[in-house]
């Protein structure tokens, strides 16, 4: 196709031709075009279908407020639904398809909805589809859901990457129209750090769409020259293609920069978009204004645009939307469209002006006191019907109509902190109100100052005033001459008598719907929005909301400000999820923490498991092992038979020093530590203030004023935070200092009857039972490297934990394995670790569930009531000390061949599976190679008194049940003789 509607002028590069496809057909355009301007240039007005009635639609606007011209841009994994053609920059090879139409945009089957529109009034679905009840999910809803949405998301992974970043400035200027450019210029010349952001790819705002001059330049040239000057200032950052999304608290603004959306695909390693968090000391909103239409019957046809947009297409893009153009206006701004288009040689057939008097446009048919009352043209405007001041009705053939009901300041960001906009009668619009983001002021059209001169002046003054509060004085500026026309507007919210006059074009909300909402007492602004869906489409009602309010105000007899506005919600325009997520996806979703033995384990083919952010060895298969159980059973049996090695570095380690360190531990642990001898360690139980068990671990006394605490892997961070709270907020004068050493030490458990023999080969000191008894702790050396040794056991075997500075962790695991060869030592993972701790009856994550007390765990005696420690007082509440409460028990199947499932519940033999008979649940279950059958731990009601009882554990999820016997939770060596060997 040829660019039949391309006219002279515009800021496009005609020396280059870009080729693109829309709905499979080839077209051409030029650099500087948007998809919409290029399609219009090619004579394409029909670009989409509306949501509910599937009405044919073309662009309403030339900007981000667009409700109609939404397309699916690109294809395959890069398919991007609901993209506004009016802001999509044209690039060579662009492909786009229309949405919400089947089988084709021109012949859309669901356009039948429009025929039945009288049934599909606002809220009709609340009143029907209720019978029979089962039909909603089976019949009605599937039909409704099939019609849902506009564009489609590919189900393929987004192939592009996204960046994030942080910027800092004295002054953020939001919008680069005349006010924003001038504000940036004034601030830039003062030396302040300035960020100027604009959503468009060409800065200048309306200056690029108008013909009037600034000084002796055109507005567009002045904008370009100003941008060029700003670009030379090192203290100014110009950010085109950057939308400020929202004002957060305390001067932080979120912004998205579309780095690569104007390219066929991002350059290698470059992001598609970047999310910026801008930390600003002051900010100015110079986001301009959005025009609003005047709704009339059938005002939604392709070819009917906002008058200012019609003008923008002509002036900026050299495009006329139609060959015969009319304008429908209630203000002087509409007249500009007519004169600009006529100056470009476009046939302006009529200006329909709702105002009865005033000067007439020369050389144009200017009908005063007239209205457009209807339009015709199925897939695009063919004619309008007007009623003149004398009531005469006439049909005028035209292919484009510009409508303007005035301009609304883009005050969204100024209203993001639930500030209520203020009504201006003079301007017939809302202006930014008080109580918005604390560091933000508005200027230019965003503040209701619509003339170019007023925009420049307010940009300068607002920047100057903002900088003044920061102690920065800006040099005086000489502002260039610019037009300063007053706003002449007579409110004319919609054409009376029209019913199907669209207010929210995308969601198909008409005047008739608003009237029905009023009739049914959904008259409050929030009820109106929610009942009719007015303003809830992807454009968030940028062009329609004020009109809807005005209509409702008229119906209720209240003023527009009394009718109120709904809350302005971020973001300003929709933002891709990819940009908000940034790099945090896939394997990079969260950081990885690697243990000191990771490299060695990976070489051995270890299976790793996520434990928080850590990757731990889960088990280490040996050649020939085909199931995980084979590996784990071997690891357990060999450890119990000889010796096993396990990386336990992930346990939290906290260095606690100070003359009050012991007293401090007495208050944060339920049991006592101040009496612990130097060179010994003790198991500690930590409670929350509410008496529930918080954490456990062993703490060693390394010196008179020096302890090393270990925490569980999961709670390392929260325990440290809690200790700092106690130290700083509760007992600020205690002499105790804390620092985490979790990562500083590589720590390995060496467990099993041969543990000592193995270690003694590497350790330079005597570690015989006499020299290093059970629960001993101390500094040692390993082949000359300084190390720590703790004689503690999680497995029930003779065991040690040995720690070296992390840099030697890799060497130590290799040394341990080599030294262990003569004992057939194994390295075991978290599965075997879990098996052995359950065999020994130690509580861990599944039992430390934040709901259990020391009493529940069988550790009630550890809670000392002789001292004030966190949680002791509230642990004594009646509900937590009931005799028939849950107690930790061991469980084994009566038939040893049976497996169980953790999470199964206890039921008495013969009891119905109902909650009334629920006696508790299995917390942890494993196959015990030592016992030769499955075993489990569980919390059982009154469990301690039920040892020996036979009952059932049921898993109703897979309908299995196993007869079990309740036993002591200590399956192995209950006397602890192995530990002390």
């Amino acid at each position: 196709m040829t660019q039949t509607n391309r006219i002279a002028g515009g800021q496009i590069d005609r020396s280059q031709t870009l080729r693109f496809h829309f709905d499979g057909l080839p077209y051409s355009g030029h650099p500087g075009d948007t998809l919409a301007s290029a399609l219009l240039a090619n004579g394409v007005r029909l670009m989409g279908r509306s949501f509910k009635y599937h009405r044919p639609r073309g662009p309403l606007s030339a900007g981000s407020e667009e409700p109609n011209a939404l397309v699916q841009l690109r294809s395959g994994a890069r398919q991007e639904p609901n993209t506004r053609a009016t802001v999509a920059e044209l690039f060579d090879g662009l492909t786009a398809t229309s949405q919400n139409a089947w089988p084709s945009l021109k012949f859309d089957a669901l356009a039948i909805n429009d025929r039945f529109n009288t049934f599909f009034t606002a809220g009709f679905y609340y009143k029907t589809f209720m019978w029979p009840a089962a039909f909603w999910e089976k019949v009605y809803e599937p039909i409704i859901r099939r019609a849902a949405g506009l564009g489609a998301l590919s189900t393929l992974e987004d192939p592009d990457c996204y960046d994030k970043g942080f910027l800092h400035c004295d002054l953020l200027v939001i919008g680069a129209g005349p006010a924003g450019l001038q504000a940036a210029l004034t601030a830039g010349r003062s030396g302040a750090r300035v960020i100027l952001a604009d959503e468009d790819f060409r800065m200048g705002g309306r200056l690029n769409a108008e013909t009037f001059g600034i000084g002796d330049q055109t507005g567009a040239d002045w904008a370009a020259a100003t941008v060029a000057e700003l670009a030379t200032m090192p203290n100014v950052r110009l950010m085109a293609r950057t939308t400020i999304l929202a004002a957060m608290d305390h001067g932080i603004y979120s912004a998205v920069e579309r780095v690569s959306d104007h390219l066929p695909e991002p350059l290698p390693n470059k992001p598609r978009q970047t999310l910026w968090r801008i930390y600003s000391r002051k900010a100015i909103l110079t986001a301009g204004a959005t025009e609003r239409p005047i709704p009339f019957e059938n005002n939604d046809r392709p070819g009917i645009l906002l008058a200012g947009s019609l003008r923008a297409y002509a002036n900026r893009w050299g495009v006329t939307v139609g060959d015969r153009v009319a304008v429908f206006t209630n203000n002087d701004d509409g007249l500009r469209t007519a004169t600009d288009l006529q100056a470009k040689g476009v046939d302006v057939v009529a200006v329909i002006d709702t105002r009865p008097g005033g000067p007439l446009l020369p050389g144009i048919r200017h009908l005063q006191g007239a209205e457009v009352i209807d339009s015709a043209g199925r897939l695009g405007l063919q004619s309008i019907t007007i009623r003149d001041a004398k009531g005469r009705v006439e049909t005028i053939a035209c292919t484009a109509l510009g409508t303007t009901g005035g301009w609304n300041p883009n005050l969204n960001i100024a209203s993001h902190h639930r500030s209520k906009p203020e009504w201006s009668d003079t301007l017939a619009t809302f202006l930014p109100g008080a109580g918005g983001p604390a560091n933000l002021t508005s200027a230019g059209a965003a503040a209701g100052l619509f003339s170019t001169h007023a925009a420049l002046a307010s940009g300068d003054e607002t920047a100057r005033a903002a900088l003044e509060t920061l102690g920065i004085t800006a040099p005086a500026q000489t502002l260039p001459q610019a037009e300063d026309a007053p706003v002449a507007i007579t409110p004319h919210w919609y054409v009376k008598g029209s019913a199907r006059a669209w207010v929210d074009l995308q969601n198909d909300v008409t005047i008739k719907d608003i009237k029905l909402a009023h009739q049914e007492n959904f008259a409050g602004v929030e009820h109106l929005k929610r009942y009719t869906t007015l303003g809830m489409a992807t454009d968030q009602g940028k062009t329609g909301n004020t009109i809807g309010l005005a209509v409702m105000a008229e119906l209720t007899g209240q003023s527009i400000p009394a009718t109120g506005t709904t809350t302005y919600r971020p973001p300003y325009t929709p933002v891709s999820m990819g940009a908000l997520a940034g790099r945090g996806r896939g394997q990079e979703f969260k950081p990885k923490r690697l243990t000191p033995s990771h490299k060695w384990a990976a070489e051995q083919g270890a299976i790793f498991v996520e434990v928080g952010y850590w990757l731990r060895t889960q088990w280490l298969p040996r050649p020939g092992e085909t199931t995980w159980r084979e590996s784990v059973d071997r690891e357990v049996l060999q450890t119990r038979k000889s010796v096993g090695i396990c990386d336990v570095t992930t346990l939290g380690k906290i260095d606690i020093q100070g003359t009050d360190a012991g007293a401090f531990l007495d208050r944060v642990y339920a049991n006592t530590f101040s009496t612990l001898a130097v060179g010994k360690c003790r198991y500690g139980l930590m409670l929350r203030e509410d008496g529930i068990v918080f954490d456990d671990g062993t703490t060693a006394r390394m010196g008179p004023n020096e302890y090393v605490m270990t925490t569980t892997t999961a709670n390392a961070v929260t325990v440290f935070r809690h200790l700092e709270f106690c130290r700083q907020c509760l007992w600020p004068d205690m002499d105790v200092q804390l620092i985490s050493t979790t990562e500083a030490w590589a720590q390995y458990s060496v467990a099993g009857p041969n543990a000592r023999k193995l270690l003694q080969k590497l350790v330079d000191q005597d570690i015989s039972d006499a020299a290093f008894p059970y629960m001993g702790a101390g500094e040692i050396t390993v082949q000359g490297t300084h190390a720590r040794l703790f004689r503690i056991s999680f497995s029930g075997e003779l065991a040690y934990e040995i720690a070296v500075p992390t840099r030697y962790g890799d060497a130590l695991i290799r040394a341990l394995v080599t030294a262990g060869e003569e004992f057939d030592a194994v390295v075991y993972g978290t599965e075997a670790l879990g098996v052995m701790r359950i065999e020994k009856g130690h509580v861990a994550g599944n039992e430390l569930n934040g709901q259990s007390t020391a009493l529940n765990m069988g550790l009630g005696k550890m809670v000392s009531r002789k001292k004030d420690a966190i949680g002791v007082a509230l642990s004594a509440r009646e509900g937590l000390t009931k005799d028939d409460g849950l107690r930790l028990v061991g469980v084994k199947p009566v038939d040893h061949s049976k497996a169980m499932q953790a999470g199964s519940h206890f039921l008495k033999t013969g009891a119905e599976p109902t909650a009334a008979h629920d006696d508790g649940w299995l917390t942890s279950m494993i196959y015990s190679p030592h016992m030769g059958h499955h075993i489990a731990l569980g919390y059982l009601r009154n469990g301690t008194n039920r040892i020996g009882e036979k009952m059932r554990v049921v898993n109703l999820l897979n309908k299995t049940e196993v007869e079990v016997e309740i036993v002591s939770p200590h399956f192995i060596d209950p006397e602890g003789s192995r530990l002390r060997a």
Partner: protein, 416 residues
């Protein structure tokens, strides 16, 4: 007026002139038997059931803003009864049963849609915990199902199964869970209550309580004093503020929870899904928007708006779970204020003041509780005894050590 398909047909053919107001806007009477403070979902449901099920008369609902403008007007619309603890599960299951017959009961299509909810599992520990939970649900008469990774892959092939930092290992499904059109719930209850004579009074803020001799006599409001024999407060989000009028301090804090909706998209996700390795849950509305959310912002707030870190956190969770949503656009974010209680569970109880009753502390789960909350609160107001499914929701449970702590986070409200 009774709504039906025939009625729509008739009105469509006669120009929709017959539709009447969904509810009246009455002037407040000098006194009522019952005043419900709060015209959100729970307050309206309470009034509805008080009138309908407990045959009480002279009832008013006082709402400081507009009906349904509380958290019922800004949530992610999920219903489910997949609770763990004895104090909770019977109540939420009762609620789910009420949802299942709700539309026929109040003659309003709230689009109760049981397309299922799926909690994804990423670790062995989670599988054990969800197995415990699933069994609790079934023991209490609810439905629960364990799904394998392969079953989930069949349902949602576009989830990240192949390159996930935290692989999907399975899931706990409740097929009867789903979503409801949230505003319609408020409107349905409001209309139903109004039809039964309840006065729904909007723009009427309670500014004080008149209490003499340990007994409540009525409430001071922005529209004057209104007497009452019994006052029930159901103003979750503002509970501390309103109960301060009675000199009470509550075991709760007010926190902001953000929620999000994408642009309208052709259907992708049938049911509700929660990500188990991050803060993200999602469903797709009948209009096509992905409705999703995550964690609370975490600090006390009445500002009804949140900040960026949580938005980013939620987006990261979304991308980690379904890497194709990178090209979907976030359309709107909003923030609601919730009562975050000290154990994550609600309170429906009498107070120490005769005639003053309290309903609150719903944390972020208040929406799904709406019908049962209304029913049980009405039961308490009408009979002075707790409903059998809500016996645990007492003020004194903290003093007695009978916390109902599903997440095991203790007395730190922002962690529930």
């Amino acid at each position: 007026m009774r709504y039906s398909g025939w009625r729509i047909l008739k009105e469509a053919l006669t120009g929709h002139k017959g539709w009447t107001a969904a509810w009246r806007d009455p002037e407040p009477q000098p006194a009522y038997d019952y005043i419900i403070v709060g015209g959100g979902g729970h307050g309206l449901a309470t009034a509805y059931y008080l009138a309908k099920e407990f045959k009480q008369a002279r009832i008013a609902v006082l709402e400081k803003g507009y009906l349904g403008g509380g958290n019922v007007g800004r949530n992610t619309t999920i219903i489910r009864s997949n609770y763990l603890l004895d104090g909770n599960e019977p109540f939420y299951e009762f609620s789910l049963k009420l949802w299942e017959g709700l539309e026929q009961d109040f003659n309003y299509n709230a689009m109760v849609s049981q397309r299922g909810i799926l909690n994804l599992i990423h670790t062995d520990g989670q599988r054990d915990a969800f197995t415990r939970r699933g069994n609790s649900m079934i023991l209490h008469g609810a439905d629960a199902e364990y799904l394998t990774r392969d079953q989930i892959r069949q349902m949602y092939p576009f989830l990240n199964f192949d390159n996930a930092r935290f692989p999907i290992k399975g899931g706990l499904a409740q097929r009867r869970g789903g979503t409801v059109r949230h505003d319609a719930v408020a409107w349905g209850y409001a209309r139903g209550a109004d039809m039964r004579g309840v006065d729904l009074i909007q723009n009427c803020e309670v500014t004080g309580m008149r209490i003499e001799g340990g007994r409540i006599l009525g409430v001071e409001t922005s529209r004057g004093f209104i007497g009452a024999k019994k006052v029930g407060v159901a103003v979750a989000g503002s509970s501390s503020r309103v109960m301060a009028h009675a000199g009470m301090r509550l075991p709760m804090e007010s926190h902001v929870l953000q929620a999000f909706v994408s642009e309208g998209l052709k259907p992708l996700i049938d049911g509700v899904m929660t990500f188990g390795a991050g803060h993200f849950y999602v469903s797709q509305s009948d209009k096509g928007g992905l409705v999703f959310g995550g964690d609370i912002d975490g600090y006390n707030s009445y500002a009804q708006r949140g900040n960026l870190p949580v938005i980013e956190d939620v987006a990261e969770g979304g991308m980690a779970l379904m890497p194709m949503i990178g090209r979907a656009r976030l359309l709107r974010t909003w923030g609601g204020i919730m009562d975050m209680s000290m154990d994550g569970s609600p309170i429906i109880d009498k107070t120490h003041i005769d005639g003053l009753y309290f309903n609150g502390g719903w944390c972020y789960g208040g929406f799904k509780a709406t019908p049962a909350s209304g029913w049980c609160f009405a039961h308490l107001l009408a009979t002075d005894t707790p409903h059998k499914t809500a016996t645990a929701y007492r003020f004194d449970r903290f003093l007695k050590g009978l916390m109902i702590d599903e997440k095991g986070q203790g007395n730190t409200p922002n962690l529930h």
